[in-house]
């Protein structure tokens, strides 16, 4: 009996390798959690109104006073942002801690956020906006002018309650989503560009993808040509996205676009530069395998009995497909579409080559004929994240906005994927009902 117990103990001991596997799951979950939390926190920084301090310090023996928001601080120095009287991003100053005399948070500081993203700070105990504005004009340097209508908000920033802070942050977040880059930095054009691009891509990829899946599943079956095509598809799915971008650049932009320009005798390249249509075509190629695989899977779930019944009643194969198979497989088509959109919306690398730009002067859709401008360059959410993060002119603000744009992109893409997953699950239940 004792021996058996001891043996059991020894064998049990060998079981704790299992904990390593559990640890791998735990580590992955922790990483996901940390990334999401970090994104949320950094994106919030872009919108929360920063409290404004009054700083006094010595510079070359002269005492200086400044109202400024503290952007960054460490043991040696502070980086602060004072009022931007002229241009956005001009108010930054570095102050050594050794020079600092005092740092206080006066209650009567007003902060005015302008539509172009600038922030002005001044002291005023006024209760009405007009009085506060008058006080501002007395404190502003000579030559300052601003359009009072160009305000976003004027707040007594150091007196805000928590609810007030949240309200201001939400207001600013909303403005960020629905305004353009002229106004400080908004992502509205990038959002529009992303949506239009993705819609155009869907229009291009869905018919082709569904036709292909139908041919593969309903007609070609196990034929040799179908096997070759399936292998080609699997390989296309594994090709890096940037190669698709390069292919689009060589074939669409330089090849077809350049040829069109030569044919139409355009002086300045119109089609021979990156544009909306070329990007949509490139993304359509990129997402074709996704659509075909998802559609084929859905077609495979349609019970064979339905097909045979339709054929037995005298329907042709085309009629069977159109009136029986496709309606039953409709949720699968929807899944395919959503998966393709989710894949395309998050893709940035190929777009950098074929048409997404940092700043486009006009939206790809407007009220002028032909309404949808296929050859125009456009802005894209993912590209904006990249540009704001690495090439912004006003680093502390632009990086915060890059996080906000990234969060928006994440919400869009993850939302689409979650939708695809739930549609797929519902589809499974439905086909199960049909086949019983």
């Amino acid at each position: 009996m004792g021996l058996v117990l001891r043996l059991r103990r020894v064998t049990r001991r060998r079981d704790h390798g299992l904990w390593l596997a559990a640890g791998a799951v735990g580590l992955s979950l922790l990483a996901l959690l940390v990334i999401v939390c970090v994104l949320l926190r950094q994106a919030a920084l872009a919108f929360l109104p920063a409290p404004v301090a009054e700083l006094r310090w010595h510079s070359n023996g002269i005492e200086q006073v400044l109202l400024a928001a503290v952007v960054e601080q460490d043991a040696r120095e502070l980086i602060v942002r004072a009022s931007e009287w002229q241009r956005r991003g001009t108010g930054y100053q570095r102050i050594r801690r050794g020079d600092l005399v005092s740092l206080t948070w006066p209650a009567d500081v007003m902060t005015w956020r302008l539509r172009d993203g600038r922030e002005l700070h001044w002291r005023s105990a006024a209760t009405s906006v007009h009085e506060a504005y008058a006080a501002l004009l007395t404190q502003a340097p000579a030559g300052f002018s601003a359009d009072p209508a160009g305000q976003v908000d004027i707040v007594a920033v150091n007196q805000l309650s928590t609810a007030g802070v949240v309200r201001i942050a939400l207001q600013r977040a909303w403005l960020f989503v629905c305004s353009g880059p002229q106004a400080g930095a908004g992502v509205f054009p990038a959002l529009v560009g992303t949506v239009v691009l993705v819609l155009l891509m869907s229009v291009l990829v869905m018919p082709l993808g569904v036709l292909l899946a139908l041919w593969l599943h309903e007609y070609a079956g196990g034929r040799r040509s179908a096997r070759i095509l399936r292998a080609a598809m699997a390989n296309l799915a594994g090709v890096p996205a940037v190669i698709y971008g390069l292919f689009g650049l060589v074939l669409f932009v330089d090849g077809i676009g350049g040829g069109l320009d030569a044919l139409l005798a355009h002086k300045t390249p119109q089609w021979g530069g990156g544009g909306l249509l070329w990007s949509a075509l490139t993304l359509a190629l990129l997402t074709l395998p996704v659509v075909v695989v998802a559609t084929e899977e859905g077609l495979g779930r349609v019970p064979d009995g339905l097909r045979q019944a339709a054929l037995a009643l005298g329907a042709t194969r085309a009629e069977t497909l159109w009136h029986v198979v496709l309606p039953v497989a409709r949720p699968a088509l929807l899944t395919a579409l959503i998966l393709a959109i989710a894949r395309a919306a998050g893709e940035v690398a190929p777009l950098m080559l074929v048409g997404a730009v940092k700043y486009a002067p006009a939206l790809p859709v407007d009220a002028e004929f032909p309404y949808l401008h296929l050859s125009r360059q456009f802005m894209h959410l993912g590209q904006s994240v990249y540009d704001l993060a690495l090439t912004g002119s006003d680093a502390p603000r632009d990086t915060a906005q890059a996080y906000a744009a990234a969060l928006l992109l994440l919400v869009v893409v993850v939302g689409l994927n979650a939708a695809a997953i739930s549609v797929r699950n519902r589809l499974r239940e439905r086909t199960r009902e049909l086949s019983t």
């Binding site: 060998r14 559990a22 890096p240 940037v242 971008g245 085309a318 919306a345 690398a349 950098m352 993912g382």
Partner: protein
């Protein structure tokens, strides 16, 4: 009054029927034609892609000096990414497929699918702006964490199995992930504290990275990016092995871990190898993370503490500026062709190995 002579109803019906039949036949032909057209189009595209790259490629003298650091950079990034992703993905796959409670598995799988959907540019952003500067000061802490991870997890597992009451153990079978989370958090905290404490030690100077944007950061983030793909493949392979095998082994006295290592893993091995190959292929071609977090310096060394420049990032950086037809353009296309060939090779290999797994499972 003349009687309107109508054609007999029977003929009319026949004529209409014949008409209708012709329309139906035409539709059938159109559909078949459309489907064949789509298939041919895709076939042409699949062939056109490499041919197009090949046609525009130009080999100029000195190409190897330009391309060698890029190839080395790509492999370096993919290697470090895989050394992060492989243990995570395989461990998670083993857990999910074989040890997790069914309800927990249903929760975990969509979670990993969502992780797969996170746009890489977001991961690149976090890597470049937050992880890189933060990690540059804490490489020692990371080293301590990684070194202590396996012993601490195994020890806590042993402690749980020996010291915890049976009742608790039985209640929590399949939910050990929850127990590992506090252990991991504690370990991370301890590693950070230890890293601070030894910051002035000689070893800290040796592993001080030359730049914040180095292969280590790229490896971690790229690893997280490719991990879900590998997880899904490996999990599918492991889950497809019939449960009777494990149950039989356990009935003969093997522990769950022994059944896994000696029976299930060998059966599912082709699926796991395919997962590794596809993960490597994805890591080779991934652009945004490497572009943002690697510093993009073309170097020829294998150290994780220096930067790198990969083929894909180089393409994204230089292709928009290269003039069509120039030597530079030709060289870029050559590098793209190289990357394309590598990925194709890896994919084909993975597909072949997976075919083997399918046959093996069908044989069971």
């Amino acid at each position: 009054m003349p009687v309107q002579v109508s054609s007999s109803p029977a003929t009319s019906l026949a004529a209409r029927f014949a008409q209708r039949q012709r329309v139906r036949a035409r539709r059938e032909r159109w559909l078949r034609g459309g489907l064949a057209f789509a298939a041919v189009l895709l076939g042409v595209l699949a062939v056109a892609m490499p041919l197009f790259l090949l046609a525009s490629t130009r080999i100029t003298p000195g190409w190897s000096e330009t391309l060698l650091p890029l190839v080395a950079g790509s492999f370096k990034a993919a290697f470090y990414a895989l050394s992060v992703a492989a243990p995570l993905a395989l461990g998670a796959a083993i857990w999910c497929a074989r040890f997790a409670a069914p309800r927990l598995r249903q929760l975990l799988k969509p979670l990993f699918e969502l992780l797969e959907a996170v746009p890489v540019v977001v991961l690149g952003l976090v890597a470049a702006l937050l992880l890189a500067p933060w990690l540059a000061q804490r490489v020692l802490a990371l080293a301590i964490f990684v070194a202590a991870l396996v012993p601490v997890l195994a020890a806590s597992g042993a402690l749980w199995q020996h010291a915890a009451p049976r009742r608790w153990q039985r209640a929590l079978v399949g939910h050990e992930v929850g127990l590992s989370l506090p252990v991991l958090v504690l370990l991370a905290w301890a590693a950070l504290v230890a890293g601070e404490a030894f910051a002035t030690h000689v070893s800290a100077a040796i592993i001080q990275p030359q730049t914040p944007w180095n292969a280590l950061v790229v490896g971690i983030m790229l690893g997280l990016a490719v991990m879900p793909t590998m997880f899904t493949l490996a999990e599918d392979a492991l889950f497809a092995v019939p449960a009777e095998f494990a149950l039989g082994a356990q009935a003969l006295g093997a522990t769950r871990w022994q059944a896994l290592v000696h029976l299930l893993l060998p059966i599912a091995a082709p699926g796991i190898v395919a997962a590794l190959l596809l993960g490597f292929s994805r890591a080779l071609g991934e652009t945004m993370i490497v572009l943002m977090a690697s510093g993009n310096t073309p170097l020829l060394d294998a150290s994780p503490l220096t930067g790198l420049r990969s083929i894909a990032a180089n393409l994204a950086l230089e292709a928009p500026e290269a003039a069509p037809g120039s030597e530079h353009y030709g060289l870029l296309l050559l590098s793209a062709l190289l990357l394309f060939g590598l990925c194709l090779l890896l994919n084909a290999l993975a597909e072949h190995v997976r075919g083997r797994l399918r046959r093996r499972l069908a044989g069971l």
